[in-house]
């Protein structure tokens, strides 16, 4: 005992050596200028031995990582001149693990720090024009910044607040003149959601003040913001909202203080991009955030007024797929499009307005050529609309779009896209807690060890087997992924790192492929991870999120145990159960208790979510049950063992996969209802059906009897067709009906027993003794007592027969 304690002390001393899972809780400042080196301070947990930053995009690299404490890092980030503006996603890898996802923001302008006091109009902090302020909104804090502008100059302001992924920070900004009059205010915007942006043209030479605060005066130290103030263009909406890939289109940019302007843009041809983040530049000045231009592989139809009714619709001779671009120009405006579609084709028809930063709240209706309504929708896609429709015949159709509240303006731009509904597949790691999209969504593998994860597979418009492939695994890492049965929605994958794999990390492309040569079908998809970054009321909804399509995998320091799952000899049968042996292989001196969790279960297989193996012990049994509908066949299953790492965090290691064979049961059973008088003996008759022959003697055990009643185990062979359990009851047993009796039947095979659970729903009734006759009719009970044994011995009576008998007895 003493030895162990001292050993633990050793672990604790070397705690830092075994720390796992670093956590970033803050990263300040929240961004830097492109083409500069930005010093940042990262705070969190277990950041010691941070070796590398894992960026999801190009343009930033670390030039210095200094560890101040295990909770604080000093880092220098070199931001390339051509680094994309906006959000960059990153993780930190230490020698023990991979951190949560965090973001860092790149702006085109020099960064300035907020200097308190600046909470009053008179104390406004002077800042250079075309700069980015890294500030914080404390509780009820209002920050003021002063700039100079000349008459006619554009003053644009944009704030990154909710997008910085802290608390729910809904910012408000205003531009005031030197006499405190508001020139413009912005709270929410279609372009940036809760974040605010605005631009004005300076009415005269002089100083102007920009006010920033939380819209309802909330705040705190985590309410960080980045405020861009300058003369940059700030268009809000683009018309048309998209175009055909590869084509050069002239776009009009609306919403800028200086009025609309046009630009011709060649749209990229890359098939995977469905939108182009476009930063409009005026000389060296660029908007800090892009306008998003939709790209489709099919042609666009541009609205031509008048198209207010179905006779005046904007018509095209082309067939779907098509995109329709237009503007709900004024209040009560309605736009109609006439187009053609082919019989049997199934389409999503999406009205995109909020998706393209338009204030329009679209309502979409589809009509046939004569104007009869087919289908309509308002809000299936957030405020945007989505129709799903299978065209019943070749011919013309009409689409109508309008605003939900009949509003309209030149900025009420929309784009209707049509997507042929095609087979789709994707996979993601399940969430382990509600409102937590980050835990265990990346895979650190200890050298010489292996980890596994379940993947939830989502298929749309097809069903079929899948193969999972991985590209860009870190050096020394291999993946084992069993083929996914077409009926399964969850599958395990296993990643192994060799003993000599170097510490390192990569973003792995997981692809899912379904190929059916006969039907000439090929469907492919990839890994997806939607990371919620800001939650808020009501009920912790997601306010801001980001999407990932690659899985972060890292090779880290070894851990002191392994887990082995023993391959069972026998199959599990439907409605049966099986215990699988789990063995922990511990390094010398490692004795900690371990929790073992099954990764994923084939449909119909039930199991506890985990079992634990006590300190110092190494063997446990995982009980699996199979319901009557479990898929027959051989399936890969595996477990993962985990235990708390000494420095916090959790160590995980996975077993190899074993085969789980699911077969039909050998026997089935029906339990007939029995009635026994309290304190007497009786019988429970069960009809047995041996469905598959077996050798040797099987056992049957009746379960679920009421208290103070008992029976015995029965042995039987494959030729038995009925079992009779003798029932003994005590006087104190309670009268009444007991339901849910069942039977464990254990059938021998290969020297082991296969457990069946059969006869569910059996019932037994305990009766009170008949009331004793009041008169001293002593001879009578004797008669009954004598009469009874005779028939009882012959043959067990059915319930009906018993009733008949008692009826006869009653009539006598």
């Amino acid at each position: 005992m003493k030895k162990i304690t001292s050993l633990f002390a050793g672990f604790l001393l070397a705690g830092s050596l075994f720390a796992t899972e670093p956590i970033i809780s803050s990263l300040l400042p929240r961004g830097g200028q492109a083409g500069s080196t930005q010093e940042i301070i990262v705070r969190g947990q277990r950041l010691d031995q941070a070796t590398e930053f894992l960026f999801y995009g190009e343009g930033i690299r670390t030039t210095k990582i200094e560890e101040e404490k295990s909770t604080v890092l000093k880092v220098a980030l070199e931001i390339a001149k051509d680094a994309p503006l906006g959000q960059h996603k990153l993780r930190i890898r230490t020698n023990e693990g991979l951190s949560n996802l965090y973001t860092f923001w790149v702006s085109p302008y020099p960064n300035v720090k907020e200097e308190e006091p600046n909470s009053a109009f008179d104390e406004a902090q002077a800042i250079p024009v075309n700069s980015t302020v890294n500030g914080v909104a404390l509780n009820e804090d209002v920050d003021f910044y002063e700039i100079n502008a000349t008459k006619g100059q554009r003053i644009s302001v944009e704030v990154e607040a909710i997008r910085l992924s802290g608390p729910l920070f809904d910012p408000y900004i205003a531009i005031l003149d030197d006499k405190r009059f508001e020139l413009a205010t912005s709270d929410d915007s279609e372009l940036l959601l809760q974040d605010s942006t605005l631009s004005v043209v300076a009415p005269r030479d002089g100083t102007y003040v920009v006010e920033v605060r939380e819209s309802s005066y909330r705040g705190g130290s985590s309410f960080q913001y980045r405020l861009h103030v300058g003369n940059f263009p700030r268009p809000l909406v683009v018309f048309p909202a998209g175009g055909e890939a590869g084509k050069t289109v002239e776009f009009t940019f609306l919403g800028d203080a200086k009025g609309p302007f046009k630009a011709s843009i060649k749209l990229p041809e890359n098939e995977s991009d469905d939108e182009l983040p476009y930063f409009h530049r005026e000389g060296s000045l660029s908007s800090p955030s892009p306008n998003r231009i939709r790209i489709s592989t099919y042609p666009s139809v541009l609205e031509k007024e008048p198209n207010q009714n179905r006779n005046d619709s904007t018509a095209t001779e082309q067939f779907l797929p098509l995109a329709f671009d237009g503007v709900i120009q004024e209040d009560k405006d309605v736009d109609y499009f006439r187009f053609k579609a082919k019989k049997g084709q199934r389409y999503y028809i999406k009205a995109m307005a909020r998706a393209v930063a338009s204030p329009l709240d679209p309502v979409l209706n589809l009509y046939d050529a004569k104007g009869s309504s087919l289908v309509g929708n308002d809000d299936s896609n957030g405020p945007d609309s989505l129709l799903t429709y299978t065209f019943p015949k070749d011919g013309e159709y009409l689409l109508r779009i309008k605003d939900h509240l009949d509003k309209g303006s030149p900025a009420h731009v929309y784009r209707i896209e049509t997507h042929r509904i095609l087979p789709e597949v994707s996979a993601s790691i399940p969430l382990f807690r509600t409102r937590d999209t980050q835990s265990r969504q990346m895979l650190p593998i200890a050298r010489g060890s292996q980890v596994a994860t379940a993947l939830n597979v989502s298929r749309k418009s097809f069903s079929g087997d899948l193969e999972i492939l991985a590209r860009n695994l870190p050096a020394g890492v291999t993946m084992e992924a069993p083929p996914v049965n077409g009926a399964f929605t969850s599958t395990p994958i296993l990643l192994r790192a060799s003993k000599d794999a170097p510490l390192g990390q990569s973003l792995v492309d997981l692809s899912l492929v379904h190929e059916n040569a006969e039907k000439k079908v090929k469907v492919s998809g990839s890994f997806k991870h939607d990371v919620a970054l800001v939650y808020g009321p009501p009920n912790n909804r997601t306010y801001y999120h980001t999407k990932l399509s690659r899985l972060a995998v890292a090779v880290v320091d070894p851990i002191p145990f392994k887990v082995k799952l023993h391959q069972p000899v026998n199959p599990i049968v439907r409605s049966g159960s099986q215990n699988i042996k789990v063995e922990i292989v511990r390094d010398a001196n490692f004795t900690k208790a371990i929790t073992v969790r099954i990764l994923t279960r084939p449909p119909g297989i039930g199991a506890k979510s985990s079992i634990s193996i006590a300190e110092g012990k190494s063997v446990g049994y995982y009980a699996l049950t199979a319901n009557g509908g479990t898929a027959l066949g051989t399936w890969k299953i595996g477990v993962q063992a985990e235990t708390g790492a000494p420095g916090g965090g959790i160590w995980r290691v996975a077993s190899d996969f074993i085969d789980l064979r699911v077969e039909e049961p050998f026997v089935s059973m029906k339990i007939n209802m029995a009635a026994v008088q309290r304190g007497k003996e009786g019988e429970m008759i069960c009809d047995l059906n041996v469905r598959r022959p077996f050798e040797g003697l099987a056992t049957a055990e009746l379960k679920g009897l009421p208290p103070f009643s008992a029976t015995t185990k029965i042995e039987f062979d494959a030729n038995t067709s009925q079992l009779s359990f003798p029932i003994q009851t005590e006087d104190k047993a309670r009268a009444g009906l007991t339901k849910n009796l069942f039977c464990f039947v254990r059938v021998p095979m290969s020297g082991e027993l296969i457990t069946h659970t059969v006869g569910q729903g059996g019932q037994i009734r305990l009766d009170n003794p008949p009331p004793k006759p009041k008169a001293p009719a002593k001879p009578k009970p004797k008669e009954v007592a004598e009469a009874k044994p005779a028939p009882a011995k012959k043959k067990p009576l059915s319930r009906l027969e018993q009733l008949r008998l008692s009826a006869q007895g009653g009539s006598n």
Binding site: E140, D170, D187, D188, E190, L193, Q194, S215, S216, Y217, R218, R354, D361, D378, D379, G382, P383, H404, L405, G536, P537, P538, N539, R541, Y543
Partner: protein, 1001 residues
């Protein structure tokens, strides 16, 4: 099946005018055997133009042969004119005594109590001629012209110690009375047709006598027109006299009432019955004043079948069968349910006749139906015996059963309104009475006297009680509101009771404006004199607290006190109205009514709350008229962030609750009851409720892009079904018409346009009442959000005028507040006068009002010069500026700040509690603030002496200088103090804990 009338105990019996003198015309060949009087012939004789009865004495020479001079024994009639000529000079022709003046008072005072409709001792009734002739156990009581056989005479003439003497109580009749009776019988015992006698107390007779010295200004008779249709119809008549001092008296039984033409209708005991078709009129005379009621009789011989809706259902209501505690309960009572107050006649018909087979009715023997037997108590009934077997109600039920329990056709007439006569009463003297009559008007144009089927209630039984037959009896001095409820209608009449012999002179009080005139009118009715006007010191503190919610600052105080101009109070009011605190006060009050508070999980984020509050603040600060604000609120559409007024539909998302809230906040009416059944104390029916709710049935709500935001829009479809017939009701304004709406119209727009317009009688009245309540501590209708027929305004004329002005001012609050604050009534002292010390509701003096929580906290902060911190507001902000109902602190909660969870004005708690007192005594509200604010120490630092500091503290807290005695006592106690700062702070603490500080007075 005849509907028998309850014998109306129509109350007042008066000393009547000699309308039907002895002269008797031959009876007309009328269908009834009752005598008809020839009014034409009778009239000229007894009615000389002069109202004084004196000249009439001459036709009545003293009757008796015995030399009994009248003065000796006072003649019984209260008509106290001395029977002046007692000298019987000549052969004594026996003169028949006047029935009304001489006989009736004797019989009514001495006999009818035991031998009338109520009691029949010895099976004898003396209340009508027929009964008197028939007599009782011992034989006929009255045989005309037969002094021997008339037992009546025999019994009153027995020796005083005889067991059989009548009357047994109150001593034997005096000789004069006996003489009158004797003469009466001798001369044929004339008994005018149709007159039934009712027991009278001495008290009533005394009151009647008194009234004779007063001058009548008007004679009123109700109903104004009588139309009798079908054989079963009848109508009761009430006659009332109004005197020069506004006192009213019921003189139905004193007046002479005759039919212009006999044979068309019958006049029997204050009730008219039809005889044959035709027109005539009822002529009423009383003390020289006349009144006629046109009468029309149609279908006089037609039978009227008993209608379930019109006859049977009212019986359930009158007898209380369908009340909430009985079968009207939602689950019924003893497994029998009737719709509460009869909101579902169809359902009731089903339940009675079909629900339990024929268990409840027995068509073969209707009298033995369970329904009937239970109600007369013939079988055990949890509800007890409700009426007599054989009574009118019983007849109705049995008749209906006998007819085979028919249900009414769909188009059966519906009552459309009821009249309650007379509309008001000012009764003088404990025990004076007034009979009421109720007339229902039906949709088919007919009317019916439904007095026997009406439920009566009084709001103040101590002052004026009303019995089940509609007789009001005056009690103690005070006011009462008596209500009549029939079918779905409730209607009320105001009754004022003043004591007799009141020493009251109408005071000469100047009126500052129209408010005072109307208040004084009401006070005069009550014979109350208002208090004096308060002092300038009191006024400046009162008006500052009421208008701005803070104490007058030093400058305001000094300027006002130094001002010598006569209109200095008006100027002060104007100055205060321009302060932004005035706006903040009303923003707070409306924020309460609009329930502005955060509830994240119910869709009200803090952001929305703040935007909503700022919207309201902006509107009120810019003096946007209230009707426009309300219109903006009710018709709002769009996102709750973009267009914050839409939050009105987000704070409450249940459309029925919205309906109720709109009625309560903007019309002051609680219509909640009518959701499940007709309102028991008001006019609102379920139909009204669901018609009104229909305006809100098409509100659409959907999520906006921001999860905290919602979009409110007009769905253009959607209905709320009426729970009884499961069909929607077309939109109809509450108490107004149904608007014409197209399908695409936003129903809320129609509603808002009506609601906030002069067409809606309730809107301006409600807002005016809210304003009034703020400045007087109680509304003219109290509580302000409980406007209903049964809770009438204490001064309806005043409320109407305020509402009219408010409308005229284009719903500008400021102007109305200015009127209120400039009125003398607002400026009255709180010191009571002898006559107004008990008055609570008529604004005869100022009442002490505890400062509401927010104001009290602000005032404490103000005088101690300390600052508060509330969420969302900068340090030092005032409590009345708090935007979110959820934001509070211990002080505010203790002193009853509204939580804004309901629209009820009752959320603000003004009642004192122990924790409030303890908090002020020990909590940090006073002591630590005194220390923190360093007021005393700073004054000392500035070199002020204790006397100056005392003056400062008094001015600060009370807006006055210390009285000499206060000053002397305090200075004396300070003189010996070692630490003047601490002692003065103790004084400060004492001031803050005084009633004078925490009350507005």
């Amino acid at each position: 099946m005849k509907i028998l009338l309850f014998l109306f105990p129509l109350a007042l019996l008066g000393n009547p005018e000699p309308s039907a003198p002895a002269t008797e015309a031959k009876p007309k060949p009328a269908p009834t055997p009752t005598e008809a009087k020839p009014p034409e012939a009778a009239k000229p004789e007894p009615k000389p133009t002069a109202p004084t009865p004196a000249p009439k004495a001459d036709p009545k020479p003293s009757p008796k042969p015995e030399p009994k001079p009248a003065p000796q024994a006072k003649p019984a009639p209260p008509q106290s004119e001395p029977v002046a000529q007692p000298a019987p000079p000549a052969p004594p022709p026996i003169v028949a005594p006047d029935f009304h003046r001489e006989i009736r008072p004797i019989l009514e005072a001495a006999c009818i109590q035991c031998h009338g409709a109520e009691k029949q001792k010895g099976k004898l009734r003396l209340d009508s001629l027929e009964f008197a002739r028939k007599g009782g156990d011992s034989g006929p009581a009255l045989v005309a012209k037969n002094l021997v056989e008339s037992l009546l005479l025999e019994r009153v003439n027995l020796p005083a110690d005889d067991d059989e003497i009548m009357p047994p109580k109150g001593g034997p009749l005096d000789a004069a009375q006996k003489d009158v009776l004797t003469r009466w019988i001798q001369t044929g015992a004339k008994w005018p047709a149709g007159y039934a006698l009712h027991a009278r107390t001495e008290r009533e007779l005394a009151l009647r006598k008194k009234a004779h010295y007063k001058k009548i200004v008007e004679l009123e008779a109700y109903p104004p027109v009588v139309r009798l249709q079908t054989k079963e119809d009848f109508n009761s008549i009430v006659v009332r006299a109004k005197y020069t001092d506004d006192v009213t008296r019921d003189v139905t039984r004193e007046a002479s009432i005759t039919l212009a033409q006999a044979g068309i209708a019958e006049w029997r005991d204050s009730v008219l019955y039809p005889i044959k078709d035709g027109k005539t009129e009822l002529r009423i005379s009383y003390r020289g004043l006349h009144k006629t009621i046109p009468i029309e009789v149609v279908q006089a011989t037609a039978e009227r079948p008993i209608s379930f809706n019109l006859d049977v259902m009212p019986v359930f209501m009158k007898a209380g069968c369908n009340s909430g505690s009985c079968h009207g309960s939602a689950r019924g009572q003893d497994r029998f349910m009737l719709s509460l107050f009869g909101y579902d006649p169809k359902g009731d018909h089903f339940r009675i006749t079909r629900e339990e087979g024929t268990r409840r009715i027995n068509l073969a023997i209707p009298e033995e139906s369970m329904l009937v037997e239970k109600s007369v108590g013939a079988v055990p009934h949890t509800g007890g015996k409700l009426f007599e077997k054989g009574s009118d109600h019983w007849q109705t039920l049995v008749g209906w059963l006998r007819d085979g329990v028919p249900n009414d056709p769909e188009d059966v007439a519906k009552p459309e309104k009821i009249d309650f006569f007379p509309p008001d009463a000012l009764l003088e003297g404990n025990g004076s009475t007034q009979q009421m009559t109720v007339l229902a008007h039906y949709s088919d144009g007919t009317t019916r006297d439904v007095t026997p089927l009406t439920v009566f209630q009084s709001s103040n039984d101590v002052s004026a009680s009303i019995d089940e037959k509609g007789l009001i009896t005056a009690g103690k001095r005070g006011e009462a509101f008596v209500m009549a409820r029939f079918n779905v209608f409730t209607i009320g009449a105001q009754v004022v009771v003043i004591p007799e012999n009141l020493k009251y002179q109408k005071p000469v009080v100047p009126a500052n404006n129209y408010i005072d005139g109307l208040v004084h009118d009401k006070l005069h009715k009550l014979r109350i004199t208002p208090s004096e006007v308060c002092s300038d010191e009191v006024f400046v503190r009162r008006v500052a607290l009421d208008i701005t919610g803070v104490l007058p600052d030093r400058e305001t105080f000094d300027v006002f006190m130094a001002d010598q101009s006569p209109d200095k109070r008006a100027k002060l009011v104007d100055r205060l109205l321009e302060r932004k605190e005035f706006t903040e006060m009303w923003v707070m009050k409306f924020a309460e009514l609009l329930q502005i508070q955060t509830d994240d999980n119910q869709g009200m984020s803090y952001k929305a709350t703040l935007l909503y509050f700022n919207w309201l603040k902006d509107r009120i600060a810019n003096n946007v008229p209230m009707d426009r604000i309300v219109r903006e609120l009710l018709t709002s559409t769009g996102g709750t962030f973009v267009n914050p007024s839409t939050n009105y539909y987000q704070v409450e998302r249940d459309n029925l609750k919205i309906t109720e809230n709109v009625a309560q906040v903007f019309m002051g009416m609680r219509i909640q009851c009518a959701q499940c059944h007709n309102h028991p104390f008001d006019q609102w029916t379920q139909d009204d409720y669901y018609s009104f709710a229909s305006f809100f049935s098409q509100i659409g709500r959907k999520r906006a892009a921001d999860p905290r935001e919602s979009i409110i829009y007009n769905r253009r479809s959607g209905e709320i079904n009426h729970p009884v017939h499961k069909k929607p009701m077309p939109p109809k304004f509450l108490g107004g018409d149904a608007p014409e709406l197209k399908r695409s119209d936003d129903r809320r727009v129609a509603l808002a346009n009506w609601l906030a317009s002069p067409e809606n009688p309730f809107f301006a009245r409600n807002l005016a009442n809210i304003v009034w309540a703020h400045f007087f501590g109680q509304g003219i209708i109290e509580p302000v959000d409980d406007v209903r027929v049964s809770n009438p305004p204490s001064n309806p004329q005043l409320l109407d005028e305020l509402a009219r002005r408010f409308t005229e001012y284009d719903y500008d609050f400021k102007k109305l507040v200015r009127d209120v604050c400039n009125s003398r009534t607002y400026q009255l002292s709180s010191a009571p006068t002898e006559s107004n010390k008990d008055d609570l509701r008529n604004f005869a003096r100022a009442h002490l009002r505890r400062l509401r929580a927010e104001v009290l906290l602000d005032v404490i902060s103000q005088v101690t010069e300390t600052k508060n911190k509330f969420q969302g507001l900068p340090l030092g902000a005032k409590a009345i500026q708090i935007a979110d109902g959820r934001v509070s602190n211990y002080f505010l909660t203790t002193f009853g700040r509204a939580t804004r969870e309901t629209v009820c004005s009752c959320e603000v708690v003004m009642e004192p509690s122990l924790s409030q007192a303890l908090h002020l005594l020990n909590g940090d509200a006073t002591n630590s603030r005194i220390k923190q604010g360093k007021v005393v120490r700073n004054l000392l630092k500035d070199g002020k002496n204790p006397e100056q500091i005392l003056d400062n503290l008094y001015a600060r807290c009370y807006s006055r200088k210390p009285r000499p005695s206060e000053r002397a006592n305090l200075l004396a106690s300070l003189a010996g103090s070692e630490s003047p700062a601490e002692s003065l702070e103790d004084v400060f603490w004492a001031l803050l804990n005084s009633k004078e500080f925490i009350f507005n007075h």
